[in-house]
Assembly symmetry: C2
Homo-oligomer: 339 residues x 2
């Protein structure tokens, strides 16, 4: 029986917001697997803002996507055929095989996950790269101390929602900035943030931030860049730390990203901005994942996922990231695990 | 005999470049000194770019100058009368008594310096705050490693000229940016910089910088801010460190300091910018001063001073900082030490 594998490739490099021209659906036949390979059926794919950066041909910390190749990204699959001693049919694995319904993986390209610990989707979220991004960015760079004020932009997103909870575990006063009242309610009621500011409806973000941060901002976890960050940076405290994780407000802009230069602020406040990507911490992933899992089991961390159903919906789900559609981690469910 | 003490006070807060309205010359009579006080005659006063920041009434790491009060700043004086057990007539001391010809200091307001080790003026320069600023900014924040590329703006100034030499001691490839051919020659011929770029005459700073930094920029010691820094920041290497020491290009501007936002660069390069002031390192001054003194004695460090003569010339000398008049540390000599 031949298997038809649907794939989504990068058809052209987007200028501004990606659209239906950006992606192409293709179908190819899956070959027979070889020794030390497994055939996977995709269960979940992750859609993440950083993928926008890989769609253009610019130098960055990660290679650009190749035109007419499958869009790579975090994904979870079930082994449906195995010629590897390490994997049995029914095993659930995680890898970077991206936006396709099936994939033939070499044994060392994927890693088994234990579905008994937590829902498998969490390995693309709070127990996966987004959780680890929050963990290392906040703790290694932000280093919040008890009683300090931590501000997070994109606070209801996959990373921000974890950052705020870890900051609370560390005893900080936590303020989230997000784009809807529903998100603000989620931050305060479900995640225990002290304050939330809806940047879309506020009349004066600077004033609201001042009220929410009477002792100014010790740690600013920046997921968005742009004008929101300009305002938060203007309220830093002495010796503030700014982990720079993302700049989603600028990813689809073709205009120059101009704003107030930061040098004077950094000098006046002896403040620090540090860009990072989770890949910098590869050798500490185990530590991070164990701690996140422990907090999750102890009930100190919680999470929400926004799950879109259906392979066809992947491009639409991805674009939804830039509209702020998701609360927590945004995933696309491609198929159910077999019983 | 009454002593007339000439002083320079802040007459009004400057908008844009300070001018003759900014400063006022006053004369007051010196009172008798009390127990535990010394009377100082000023030998040298330091003029430094950071003082421009203190002339406006804005929140910063240091209090603004008060209107109609003497301009404070690093200065060296000779004890001409003493009622302190700790100081004898003829001792040379350093303090912050600023722009005046005489000063009555409490014993704990000043610190004795040893004129036998190095010329006394060096205690306002390479062995003083500017040397320490270079030392801690480069070594604690920049942390250059052997073979890395260090770029310095304002490279021929009091701080930059020391930064480059320390970077050479650490085995780095050192590139200085400065504003005259004379300065570039000084950097290369006298201080041992590998490359120098005259930003005023270059046709394309970005291209010249690329040529001078084939492996990109690992450490950027930023003294100037503005467009020069925009260009250097665009050529950072992965895991680059940017000690942000000054932004002299902007200090006299009343316009908003707008430029490319740094977030995307910082993320792409996992790069770090850290503002600082030398005051952050008070508890390590002794270590820094000892190391600088040792390097100086070993001939591993050299320095140049631009010395303007005469108390009346202080405002003019200060303004010269922003015209790039000085090579190395800029000082005003107010009087000779008695023999």
């Amino acid at each position: 029986m031949t298997i038809k594998n649907r794939q989504i490739t990068l058809a052209e490099r987007p200028k501004g917001m990606p659209d239906e021209q950006t992606f192409q659906f293709k179908t190819e036949e899956i070959n027979d697997i070889q020794q030390d390979e497994v055939l996977l059926r995709t269960l979940y794919v992750s859609v993440d803002p950083y993928m926008r950066g890989r769609m253009v041909d610019a130098e960055s910390y990660i290679e650009p996507f190749q035109l007419n190749e499958v869009i790579e990204g975090g994904s979870i699959g079930e082994v449906i055929e195995s010629k590897s001693d390490h994997y049995a049919v029914g095993d659930v694995v995680i890898g970077s095989f991206g936006w396709q319904e099936y994939y033939i993986a070499k044994a060392n390209e994927v890693r088994k996950i234990d579905p008994s610990v937590a829902p498998i989707s969490t390995h693309l979220g709070i127990l996966g790269m987004t959780g680890l991004t929050a963990y290392f960015g906040l703790l290694d760079i932000g280093q919040p101390k008890e009683g300090e004020t931590v501000v997070i932009s994109g606070a209801a997103g996959s990373v921000g929602s974890v950052v705020g909870q870890i900051a609370k575990i560390k005893g900080a006063h936590v303020v989230g900035i997000a784009g809807s009242d529903e998100k603000i309610q989620f931050l305060k009621d479900e995640l225990g943030f002290d304050e939330g500011i809806n940047y879309k409806t506020t009349k004066n973000l600077a004033e609201d931030l001042k009220k929410a941060c009477p002792n100014r901002v010790d740690v600013y976890f920046d997921n968005v860049g742009g004008e929101i960050s300009d305002i938060v940076l203007s309220q830093l405290n002495t010796f503030a730390r700014v982990p720079v994780c993302g700049a989603i407000s600028t990813y689809n802009s073709e205009e120059a990203d101009l704003g107030p230069r930061v040098q004077t602020t950094l000098i006046k406040k002896s403040a620090m901005m540090q860009g990072f990507t989770v890949g910098n911490y590869t050798d500490r992933f185990k530590e991070g994942a164990m701690q996140l899992g422990k907090w999750l089991q102890e009930g100190k961390l919680t999470y929400r996922e926004t799950i879109v159903e259906g392979f066809d919906k992947i491009p639409e789900a991805f674009l939804g990231l830039f509209k702020g559609n998701n609360i927590g981690k945004l995933l696309v469910k491609v198929s159910d695990k077999s019983q």
